[in-house]
Amino acid sequence: MPRDAEPSDEELMSLYRDGDAAAFDTLYARHRGGVYRYLLRQCRDAATAEELFQDVWMNLIRARARYTVRAKFTTYLYHLAHNRLIDHFRRHDPRVAVSLEEEGVEAAAVQNGAEDPAPAPEEALDDRRRAARLLELVAQLPAPQREAFLLQQEGGLTVEAIARATGVTRETAKSRLRYAMSKLREGMRA
C-alpha cells in the first residue's frame, strides 16, 4: 500500500488527540524503531535508552490534548526526544549536554578532532562489516554531529527540521550534519 494513501503522521496524531487509540498504534509503529535507535546511539546503553524511550512516548501521550499541527510530526517527536536526552545528560554527563545545547560549530569541530580515532584500515569489508564499521564511526562522532546525523537517518528530518528539533539555527544544524557526513565518509574510506 503506498504511503500516500495512508494518513499522515500529523493526521494520526490529531486523531489520537481526539480519542482514537488505534491512530496512536499506527503512529507508534512507524516511529518506534527510529526514536529508540536515536536514543540508543546517543546514550549508548540499552537500559537507559529504554527508559528514555518510554519517557519520550509518555510525554507525547500526556501532551496529546495540546497537540496542534505546527510542524512535521517527526520534528515534534524528535524534539521531545532531544529534550529528554538533554535532561538525561545534564544529570549524568553535563559535558555532553552542553555540547548538544550550544550553538557553536567550531567547538564541535575541535571536539571532533580530539575524539577522532585513527581508522583501522581493512582492505575488504563486506557489507556487514562495513555496516558495523559505520556504527562505530557514528558512535565516535561528537554528540551534536551524531545527533544531526541520526535525526537525518532515523527521523528523516531535513536540515531545517533538525534545527527546529534541536533548538539551534539552521546554519548550525547544517554544519553539524556536514561535518558528520564528512567524517563518516572519511572513516569508511580509510
Partner: protein, 277 residues
C-alpha cells in the same frame, strides 16, 4: 577534515552511507516496552473521553456566557444610569410649587390622555390620577379639588426630607420602594392613560400604584415615610383610621400610598374605602 567537506551541499545524502546505516541499524525496543506504551496510550484516551468532549464545548459555552453577562451588565448599567439622571430629570418634570397648589386637576380623561402624551401635566398629578381614577371621580370642570398641599410643601424641603426618608426607610424595612425614574413614571402613566382611560384596567392601575409607591420617597418626600414609621407596629384598624384622617385632611396622595402599603401588609383586612367628596 577540510573546509571543502563542510561546504557540501546540504541536500546531499550519501547513498552508500544511507544503505549501510539502514543495514546496520536494526535495534528495536523490547516488545514488553511496546505493550506498556500502547496500553498507556489507550488508558489515557479512555480515562479522559469526557474531558475531551467537554473541551469541545469550552469555547462556545464560554462565548455564550460572556455574551449573557455582557448583555446583563449593559442593561444594568443603563438602568442605573437612568436612576442617576433621576434628580435633574425629576426637577424638569416637577411643576413649580405654586402650580402644584394652584393648578386645578384636569377634569376630563381625554385631557388627561393629551396631557400625559405631551408631558404637560405635572408628574405628581398624573401619578395621583393613575392611582385611582375609578375610585375618585373626576371633578367637574372648573372646580378645583383640594390640592395636595402637604405634599407640595414637603417637596420644597426635599434635601432635608430625603435625608429623613433614608433614615425612615432603614427603620421600616418592610417598605422598600423601587426607585423608578420620573421618566419611567411618566411613561407608565402615559401608557395607562392612552391604553385605558377613563376607566383604567385594574392591573394597569395596580402597576401605576406600585410605581407611585416606588417613587413616593421623592414624590411625597418624607411624609409617607413618617407615616409608615408611626404605623409600623400598629394594627390594621389604626392604619384605616390614619388613612381616613389623611383623606379628610386633604392629603390624599399620602393616604393612597398608605392604602397600597396597607393592602400589601394586611391582604385579608378590609380596605378603607374612599369617601365621596
Amino acid at each position: 577534515m577540510t573546509m571543502n567537506d563542510a561546504r557540501l551541499p546540504e541536500s546531499e545524502r550519501d547513498p552508500e552511507l544511507d544503505r549501510l546505516y539502514a543495514a546496520a541499524a536494526r535495534e528495536e525496543p523490547p516488545a514488553a516496552l511496546d505493550d506498556a506504551i500502547r496500553a498507556a496510550a489507550r488508558r489515557e484516551v479512555s480515562a479522559r473521553p469526557r474531558a475531551a468532549r467537554l473541551r469541545a464545548w469550552y469555547v462556545p459555552v464560554s462565548v455564550a456566557a460572556m455574551i449573557v453577562v455582557s448583555a446583563s451588565l449593559v442593561l444594568l448599567m443603563r438602568e442605573e444610569g437612568a436612576d442617576r439622571l433621576e434628580p435633574e430629570t425629576f426637577e424638569r418634570a416637577q411643576p413649580p410649587a405654586s402650580a402644584a397648589t394652584e393648578a386645578p386637576q384636569p377634569a376630563a380623561p381625554a385631557r388627561d390622555v393629551d396631557a400625559a402624551k405631551t408631558g404637560e401635566a405635572p408628574a405628581v398629578e398624573r401619578e395621583a390620577r393613575a392611582v385611582a381614577p375609578s375610585q375618585k371621580p373626576a371633578a367637574p370642570a372648573g372646580q378645583a379639588p383640594a390640592p395636595p398641599a402637604g405634599a407640595s410643601q414637603e417637596r420644597l424641603q426635599e434635601p432635608e426630607a430625603a435625608a429623613r426618608s433614608r433614615e425612615e426607610q432603614a427603620a421600616a424595612p418592610a417598605f422598600a420602594p423601587r426607585r423608578d425614574t420620573p421618566d419611567r413614571i411618566s411613561r407608565g402613566v402615559a401608557e395607562d392613560a392612552s391604553g385605558a382611560a377613563p376607566t383604567v384596567a385594574p392591573l394597569a392601575r395596580q402597576a401605576s400604584r406600585s410605581r407611585l409607591m416606588a417613587a413616593s420617597p421623592r414624590l411625597l418626600d418624607g411624609a409617607v415615610a413618617q407615616e409608615l414609621k408611626h404605623l409600623a407596629s400598629e394594627p390594621p384598624a389604626r392604619w384605616r383610621e390614619r388613612i381616613e384622617t389623611l383623606r379628610r385632611g386633604g392629603r390624599s396622595e399620602v393616604a393612597e400610598v398608605l392604602v397600597a402599603e396597607y393592602r400589601r401588609r394586611f391582604p385579608g383586612e378590609p380596605v378603607p374605602e374612599k369617601a365621596d367628596p
